[in-house]
């Protein structure tokens, strides 16, 4: 029901207002192509960075690989819009680099915008989805298969392509799908970098044309495109089975792949460049803005001003994750165990909310709440509900991958020993599925904590989050004024990332060494 709500709203809005007629296909067509291209390029780029990083940090003797994994995953906490602002501040036409080059006669650097610029920025801030899902998949596949392949004289690359890759494929593609759909729903980056996607077309219809029917029609096109992407995911995964379950204790079997000296240098350079561009540079710029432009006196008062908002963001995000889990667990269990049509269908539909712009989901909930549940209107409950509509697929895919890890024979054994179904679920299945389930929950928290458009529309009066404060500040003054709330937003996001995503990954190193 919740997953379908936005679609119902879009259909009502688009037809009631004659939006289907008012929608001039010629204006939508270029944006549709651009959105599709952006989603595909971002998916490819995220795979291109995320998979090598995962392999290097999980499977090789890369120096400092544990730290590399942690740093490689952290760009997830930087809101892509803030990241884009910071990168422009550093490398933009008149950014810090251009100012540094002024003495040698360079005044303006070329503008890297449009599809290319948007792809680069979105890849830099979404590849961690692929990295995290791939790294955890790599860790749970059975390494004896690879050892066997190598023992039969296969090369490392050959082994990776033919033995490892097929086993981690579903995780890689699940991560790429999250990255692609994120790119489709993104508004901040594409508007900053001049790439008119469908999301921007929808905003244009609200903001410049006051045409909600037209915006809803654009939203329907976007929803169709999202279903196409999800369909493509399922098509690529057709016939694939769940990865062979690990039966050997890690420490017995994991032998890191030795990199040659040249490969080590190259790999280290690759990791360094990515971490520099996606994490260190944006953080450095934000820190620089906070220190130089806010002023020492204002710094403390600004921090104090943002702290209650940070508390708000944590509370609604965690609540959203809890609700997402309650809804996701049954769906995930049914998909993983029965493979039935209906649960799979629900899972696919849920991705639509994730690909829709926040403003569409927000106005949809305004529409429903005011008509059916006015007592919920402009309360935090509705904010939580908006996050659930938008982020449910993250929870479902996490929970599903967790469930797929659980060998049904454990459950059968428990039942055989006379445990009840509920008891088996609580004592056996849930603990084993927990890592995947928690990964999904952590992704929900992380994405919700920085959500802006739906939060703005649905929040109670006077309710702020760091994201709304960034919006409020960049509305008037220059971007640098957003540095303090942005840094606090990043700081509070680091905790869920570390506790739920990175620590379980990093901890298994200890087991394997």
């Amino acid at each position: 029901m919740i997953a379908i709500a936005p679609i119902v709203y879009l259909v009502i809005r688009a037809t009631a207002g004659g939006g289907a007629q008012s929608l001039d296909v010629s204006t939508i067509w270029p944006a549709t192509v651009r959105t599709f291209a952006l989603a595909v390029f971002v998916a490819i780029g995220a795979i291109g960075i995320g998979v090598p990083l995962a392999v290097l940090t999980v499977r090789t003797n890369l120096p400092l690989r544990r730290i590399a994994l942690v740093l490689g995953a952290l760009p997830l906490v930087i809101p892509s819009y803030v990241g884009a602002l910071a990168l422009l501040g550093a490398l933009g036409p008149r950014g810090l680099l251009a100012q540094a080059l002024e003495p040698v006669g360079v005044f303006r650097l070329p503008t890297i915008d449009g599809l290319l610029g948007s792809t680069i920025v979105l890849v830099l801030f979404t590849y961690p989805y692929v990295l995290l899902l791939t790294a955890s998949a790599l860790r749970r596949i059975d390494p004896t298969l690879e050892q066997a392949a190598r023992g039969m004289g296969r090369g490392s690359l050959d082994t990776f392509l033919n033995v490892t890759l097929p086993q981690i494929r579903s995780s890689v593609i699940a991560g790429a799908l999250l990255a692609a759909l994120y790119a489709m729903s993104d508004f901040g980056v594409v508007s900053l970098l001049r790439c008119t996607t469908l999301t921007r077309e929808a905003f244009l219809r609200y903001d410049a044309l006051y045409d909600p029917a037209g915006a809803a029609a654009v939203g329907l096109v976007l929803a169709a495109l999202a279903l196409l992407m999800v369909g493509a995911e399922q098509w690529t995964l057709r016939g694939s089975t769940v990865a062979a379950r690990r039966r050997v204790r890690a420490r017995d079997a994991d032998v890191p792949l030795e990199l040659s000296r040249g490969a080590r240098v190259g790999a280290t350079a690759f990791v360094t460049i990515i971490v520099f561009l996606a994490l260190l540079l944006p953080l450095a710029i934000l820190g620089w803005w906070a220190i130089t432009l806010v002023g020492q006196a204002d710094l403390l008062s600004q921090i104090i001003e943002v702290l209650p908002a940070a508390g708000n963001a944590i509370a609604v995000s965690v609540a959203a994750a809890v609700v997402c889990l309650l809804l996701a667990l049954p769906v995930a269990a049914l998909v993983a165990r029965t493979g039935g049509r209906l649960p799979r269908w629900i899972e696919s539909i849920s991705y639509i909310g994730y690909a829709l712009p926040g403003i569409v989901v927000g106005l949809g909930l305004v529409f429903f709440a005011i008509r059916t549940a006015p007592f919920l209107y402009q309360t935090v409950a509705l904010v939580v509900l908006a996050y659930v509509v938008r982020l449910l697929p993250q929870a479902i895919s996490g929970a599903r991958s967790g469930w797929e890890r659980v060998d049904p024979r454990f459950e059968q054994a428990a039942r055989g020993m006379g445990r009840s179904g509920l008891d088996t679920l609580v004592r056996v299945t849930l603990p084993l599925a927990a890592p995947g389930v928690l990964t999904g929950a952590a992704l929900v928290v992380l994405t919700a904590i920085k959500e802006l458009p739906a939060t703005l529309l649905l929040r109670p009066n006077g309710f702020n989050t760091p994201a709304t404060i960034i919006w409020q500040k960049t509305n008037v003054a220059e971007y640098a004024s957003a540095a303090v709330p942005a840094l606090i937003l990043i700081a509070i996001s680091v905790l869920p990332v570390y506790v739920l995503l990175i620590r379980p990954e990093a901890r298994s190193y200890r087991r394997s060494t």
Binding site: D24, T27, G92, P93, R94, F107, R108, T111, G114, S191, L192, R194, C195, T196, L204, Y206, D207, A208, L209, Y210, D211, P212, I314, A315, V316, V318, A319, V322, V323, I359, L363, V366, F367, I370, R371, P374, F375, L376, Y377, Q378, T379, V380, A381, A434, L438, L456, L457, P460, N461, G462, Q472, K473, N475, V476, A477, E478, Y479, S481, V499, L500
Partner: protein, 344 residues
């Protein structure tokens, strides 16, 4: 296993506490039935001190909903008759103009405080402050005497001053193009847009254009006059100034921020007090205290000294167009802006 339990228990506790907090907050409801609910499309940083002063003056407490004007307008339309809003104070005339069927006429005495050209002919909304379209420029890179008297020169093939910052889908630019269509006709307007597009660099918002001018990313840009003062407020040494076109030039359009009362409001008396206050005492704040130096539109209000330092609004009347009519063919205007290739 034991070492695993503790973090799990901690996580569960955090999750439960957060959920409980949210539930408690939700059950508390939005409350505040006695407060006047203002949907404010005007920036919080700008008008929050103004609203505080209103409450101090009148004792009427405000419950303010902050947002972008077009999105608040869309929200009010979705809310329909159930809208909690009593008053909508919008950034531009266009955003409030689309709500005509949900607004109630304002008292004639209030309407009469403002020149007829800055209010709705049906009296559903009234302009509070005015702003003039200008060409902002970087004073280090452009000589003021090189700047043209007419906005039409910006589209000329002879334009020598590099990229011009433009926010093509922003309400202020769309309104300017709609006004040009009224005064010069569609063919001339399209020619202008096509020419402008050959040396335009597009941005989402006016504030971004002013930043780009100050940093030297572009040398000039089409904005409303007050963005200069916003920029100078945060960076007093920014090398940036406003160039005003000829007073009657299509480039000198005057637009307004505007306020209206919802017909479903249950607190019309307080709402009318709010509107009247904005048009009287509130004018002093815009004239003398606000960083953004907009024009107070009620010239009869005493105490507007600092507004006199600006180029007089009376001399920059701009093209003679009806602001309420600018929103009539937005689709057509946007289609022309698209056709010129300005929406990238």
């Amino acid at each position: 296993m034991l070492s695993n339990r503790r973090p799990t228990a901690l996580l569960l506790t955090i999750a439960l506490v957060c959920t409980a907090a949210v539930l408690a907050a939700a059950c508390g409801g939005s409350g505040g039935d006695d407060k006047l609910v203002v949907y404010s499309g005007r920036e919080q940083e700008l008008v929050e001190p103004l609203y505080a002063q209103f409450t101090k003056d009148t004792g009427i407490e405000l419950d303010v909903r902050w947002g972008e004007s077009p999105e608040l307008a869309a929200t009010i339309r979705e809310e329909g008759d159930a809208t909690p809003a009593d008053v909508f104070y919008a950034q531009d005339a266009g955003s409030i103009g689309v709500l005509d069927s949900q607004l109630t006429p304002l008292p004639q005495a209030d309407l009469d405080l403002v020149d007829a050209r800055y209010r709705d002919p049906a009296g559903l909304w009234v302009g509070v402050t005015g702003r003039i379209r200008v060409l902002a420029y970087n004073t280090d890179r452009v000589q003021s005497d090189a700047l043209p008297a007419s906005v039409l020169d910006l589209a000329s093939p002879d334009w020598k001053l590099g990229d011009i910052g433009v926010a093509p889908t922003n309400a202020s630019f769309v309104g300017f193009v709609s006004a040009m269509r009224e005064t010069l006709g569609d063919a001339n307007t399209q020619t202008f847009l096509d020419g402008l597009a050959t040396h335009a660099k597009t941005f989402q918002k006016n504030g971004q254009i002013v930043d780009a001018i100050a940093s030297g990313e572009v040398d000039t840009g089409l904005v409303n006059h007050y963005y200069l003062y916003e920029k100078l407020g945060s960076d007093p040494n920014a090398p940036i100034a406003n160039h005003y076109f000829d007073p009657s030039d299509p480039g000198s359009l005057v637009n307004v921020s505007a306020v209206g009362i919802l017909s479903t409001s249950t607190q019309k008396e307080d709402a009318e007090t709010f509107v009247n206050w904005l048009l009287t005492k509130g004018q002093v704040y815009f004239a003398n205290d606000a960083v953004e130096r907009e024009y107070p539109l009620n010239a009869s209000q005493p105490g507007l000294e600092r507004a006199a330092e600006l180029p007089p609004l009376a001399e920059h009347m701009g093209p003679d167009v009806d602001l309420a009519k600018l929103g009539e063919d937005l689709e057509g205007t946007i289609a022309m802006i698209r056709k010129a290739g300005l929406v990238t």
